[in-house]
Each structure stands twice: as C-alpha cells, then as structure tokens.
Symmetry: C2
Subunit: 345 residues, 2 copies
Amino acid sequence: MALNHAPRGSRSASVKDVAAAAGVSLGTVSNVLNRPDRVSTPTRERVERAMADLGFVRNESARQLRAGTSRTLAYVVLDAGNPFFTDVADGMDSAAEQAGLSLVLCNSGQRADREAAHLALFQQQRVQGLLVTPVDPESPSLDAVRDRGTPVVIVDRTRTGSAFCSVAVDDVLGGRIAIEHLLDRGHTRIAFVGGPPDLGQVRDRLVGSRAAWADAGLPEGDLTETLTPTLDVEAGREAGARIAGLPKSRRPTAAFCANDMTALGLLQHAIGNGVRVPEDLAIVGYDDIQFAGAAAVPLTSVRQPRTELGRAAAELAIDEATNPAHEHQQVIFTPELVARESTRH
Amino acid sequence: MALNHAPRGSRSASVKDVAAAAGVSLGTVSNVLNRPDRVSTPTRERVERAMADLGFVRNESARQLRAGTSRTLAYVVLDAGNPFFTDVADGMDSAAEQAGLSLVLCNSGQRADREAAHLALFQQQRVQGLLVTPVDPESPSLDAVRDRGTPVVIVDRTRTGSAFCSVAVDDVLGGRIAIEHLLDRGHTRIAFVGGPPDLGQVRDRLVGSRAAWADAGLPEGDLTETLTPTLDVEAGREAGARIAGLPKSRRPTAAFCANDMTALGLLQHAIGNGVRVPEDLAIVGYDDIQFAGAAAVPLTSVRQPRTELGRAAAELAIDEATNPAHEHQQVIFTPELVARESTRH
DNA sequence: GGCAGTGATTGAAAGGTTTCACTCACGGGG
DNA sequence: CCCCGTGAGTGAAACCTTTCAATCACTGCC
C-alpha cells in the first residue's frame, strides 16, 4: 500500500505517474479514464489501483484544454436570497444532471459590476452555457458574451428582439388572473400594491390587472395603485398603513401585491392592527414562495412554474451549445393561481 | 474596425492570434495580460486594441494549467433553499472578492451522492479552497479530498478531531439563551420543539436548554420535548396541534423551536386556532431568518452570525491555501437572542 | 501454415497560456 | 570612446491531458 496522502507542496500525481506506476503507457491511462471498455480487465484494474495508491485526481483544466469541451453550466443569479431563484436553480440542476453536466451558481446580488465579473469568469472558463437573470436584460454586455461564442439564455426576463433564448412567465396574464380571482370573490374596490412601476415585472402585472378590470366593466378609479419603492416586507407594511388610513368609503376590500414579500408585509400590518384577513381585507400575492403557504393566514398567490422555468432554460442552453441547427426561442410559461385562506370568504 | 463576432464553430482567438495581429511576440501579449507595467504604453495599447478587435477571451483552462493556480473558491451548500445558507454564502463572497477570488456555489440538496459529485468536480478543477456544509461531517470522503491536497473547511458543522478547519456556532449556548429568555419572561412550563433528535444541531440546542433548565432549579418534567421528524413548517403545525391537545394544567406556556421554519408552523397553527401569541403561547425560534421578523407576530429568535460565519470560513480556506504555516482552527461563534413580539408579554 | 481480422496498447502531437533566461538597443558615466 | 545598466521585447519550454494513427500479438479460418 503506497502512500495516498499528498503532502502540502508536493505536485499531485499526473497520468504520467500513474502510467509509470502501473507499467503502461500514458495513452492507456487516458483510455481507462475515458473509454474503459477499450482496455482489458487486468490492465484496467492495475491502472485503477495505481490511481488509488497515488491519489490521482484528473486535472480538469488540462482535460478541458485538450478536449475543448467543458462539463459545466453556469447560472448567474440575480438574488440568491430570494427563494424563487433557488427553485429555478433546482430545475436547472436536474436538467444539467440529466445531460451529465454540473451546474454552478454565482450571485450577482443585483449589482451590475458583480454580474459582469461573473460573466467574464465563466466565459473564460468556457462553460457550455451561461444562464443569467440579468440586472438589466438590455445590457450590451450580454451581447458581448454571446458574440464571443458562449450560449447565453436569459432567465425570468425578456429582451426585445430575438437574439437570445429566453425563458419567462407571462406576467400580464398573471396580473389578470389575480384580479379575476378577486372579482370572482365579489370585490369591487381593489388596490394594486407594488413598485417601482418601471420594473418590468411590476409593469406587466399592473397591465394585466387593468385589462381584467376593464373587461369587467368596472369604474376605472376603483382599481387603485399603492406604489412602493421596492418589493420587500417593509414596503408591504408601509402600504398597509396607507391603505388603513383611507376613509372607509374609499378603502379597498382586497389587495393584489406584486410579490409575496410585499403581501407578507401587508398581512403582518393587518394582523397587527386588528384588520381581519380575508374578511376586512383579502390579499393576493405573487410568486407563491414557500412562506406564502406558511403565513399566519395562508396567502393566495400567483404561482410561476419555477422548476420548469429553470429546466427549460438549461435545456435551451444545452441545445444551443450542442445542436448546430439550434434556433433561439423565447419560451413563455403560464402562471397559475393558488387559492388559500387569504381570499377565502 | 475588424469583426468581433465569433461565428459558431470558429475557433476563438488565442494569444497567438492577438500577437500576430498586433505584430508582437506571444510573450508580450501575456505580459499585457499579467504585468502591464512591463510593457511600453504604445505597444500595450496596440495589443489591447487587437484583443478587442478579435474578441479575445483568455482561456482560463490554459492559464490555470500553466500557472498552476486557480482563482476560485467553491462552496457546496447543503440546502440552497434555506435562506440561512444564502447569508453564509454572502459572507464568503465578500471575503473572496477581497482576496481577488470568485466564489462559485453548488447545491447538494442534502443528497450525499450529489455532494460527492460536486466535491469531485471542484477537486478536479483545482479550486483554491473547498467550503462545505456536509450531509455527514464525519464522512471519510472529506478526508479523501483534503488528503489529495485541496483545503477543505467545514461550515456550520463540527467534526471530531482537528484534521479540518471548521466554523460553527455554539448551539449549546444558543439553546441555553433561548430558555433563559423564556425563564426571564416568567415561564415555568416550556416545550422544546424539534427533531430528529440525532441531528447534531437539534441535540446541542436541547442540551443547552436542559442545562439552563437545571441551573434554574425547575422540576425536570416541566421542560417537555415535542419531537418532530423534520425541521419544516409542516412539523411545526403538527407540533402545534399536539401541544394544543394537552390538558390545560400540563400545557406549556411557551415553546422553543429548534429552527424558525418550525416556529413559523407553530405560529400558524396558533393563529389559525385562536391561540394568542404571546399571551397564551410564547414562541422562540432559531436562526432568525428574514421571515422571522416578517411573521404575523414577529418571532423572537436566536440569531447566528451568518455573514461572519461565511466570511471566517472563506478566510480560513484562503489561509490554508496560501499560508505555508497554516494551522487548522475550529472557530466557534456566539449566537445572540433577538427579542420580538412573540415573547413580549 | 499463412492470412485476414480483431482487440489491446503505444507514442507523439496538439491544445493555449505562462514563465524565464535571453537578446537588443539605447543612454549615461567614466 | 567604451562599457555597463536598464527597460522592452522575444522564443522556447513546460503544464497535463486527449486523440489518433500506427503497431503488436493473437485467434480462427481456409
């Protein structure tokens, strides 16, 4: 039994060392690694044993340099703290696993500079495909990466034109079904809560809301907008205070929040101030994060098919990387309403 | 202006191409990349221009193969869906950034096979350091990686012996301060909620709870244990039902949950069944995830210094990778109680 | 007994970068 | 005027693996 501990500083064993130890040529060791069926059983076992004894670890850089192909897919996440993206990544992970690839993640934390740094790194690493939920989907830096030969798929965002594959959810429809659900429940004064209004997601959800409202023939002014600077819990709390401050005659009986975080904040404000949910105020959220169902009053929410989103994105990237006949596609998924206590009346 | 779009299939530009285009030697291009100060300004500009024109992207595999050193740190996360780990990763990220490294993540999703696959990949990629929150901290596969020369730091877990650097939080102390807080509030019948009991974290928190209880000289039987099979929301709900079913004389007036998810489930059950929090039942959680403060009744929770945990882990890995005099350390952080409504009486 | 076919193994080239010892030209000091 | 030091740039070797054409040793068949 030879030593299998690589002391600090000592160069780790290479195929050459393994070949020498096993008394075979270098090519044979490579065959054991890549086409074990071409090697006779006794030699293979001898080589495998030598590898174990020497603590051989294949050098991926050298492999990739020579073979020209990497075995990883990378996802630059917009905000790793948002459970939504975690589920998206899960979907990617399973698609990658199926294709024999590994998925690695980096978090941009909404900072364009970090996003750029991560994109550059992965590009240099020659990953098979680059999945990204960009800070700004129109950013020319995405074009730069694609132009230099790395397949890029835009996730949960869309981009004008069709120079990229992208995967997203129909947020206009999402806004529509949220409002239609509340109309079904008999509400005729509804607040849309969210912002900033120039955020693509918020804008689309609002557009869908207005369309549903118009279709129902209700007075335009009764769909009010409570704009928030962000989409977090604090914003929801604060919106709750503003709504509660309205005179009863003009106060909405239901609120549609542009995401679940905001809805949770609104719910917290309500419960803390004796506003009954759903009796006094019905609430619909968006995203259906895990905590929506776990809230004090389980939240009705618009669910996006997160896992499928990720899976589709990864599959597109793999196709773009391997299929010469690949054509860019913009996949749009359909959201779905999950009804829970917060609108059960 | 030359073309800077690499058509599919065309080999991308190499240093050699850049050198030719700029009319300099290969070594000079490398100098521009790695030691720009050794190159005269005019030549440097000529080379940079050639790079831009050709859309040159440095091949990281080749760089790493030759230079022998990688520029990345990797973290194999136990459960990317748990916001706790996200914050840990944030801390690592900032330490990495400071050291000029990139942090990449992989999710094991609690599956030992995936963990092993990720470890193997990163090992082959010769990452500078490998951070891991393992499914099983005692697993010999961790030793194998370390023995083959990659620095390994165990995160949020501890391991017997001191063959590894590790970073964790004192969960015994965490359990103690949770119970002490409830004792301060005058509770004398308390339920410990969590499980499975062989999970290291759960065990330690329970040990600390019992110690605090014993120190207070209270009757042993009045610290009851409501064991759950997991630490999720569902488990908390179900524990809530069990507690509510107890005769009033034996029913605890407070619960300490082994994590926030379970506490949220318990809270949800309480609110849904007319149990007032904290009047009828005070609740203390653990982890202080973002949603603890956002709950209907904001949760008192034991906070772990998550970001610092990650930062320390990354720093240890970097030290082990670069400092020949490195010695393994087991860093233990101190948790801290964050008091909120759920125990305010 | 020779030959074709087959399966196992070999050896050298190639892949893109960094490194380092070296050359070259130039200016200043003795 | 010569020599030396200096700054700029060069060229070949090295890093480790994969690939592929070529070699070798057999087996079974005519």
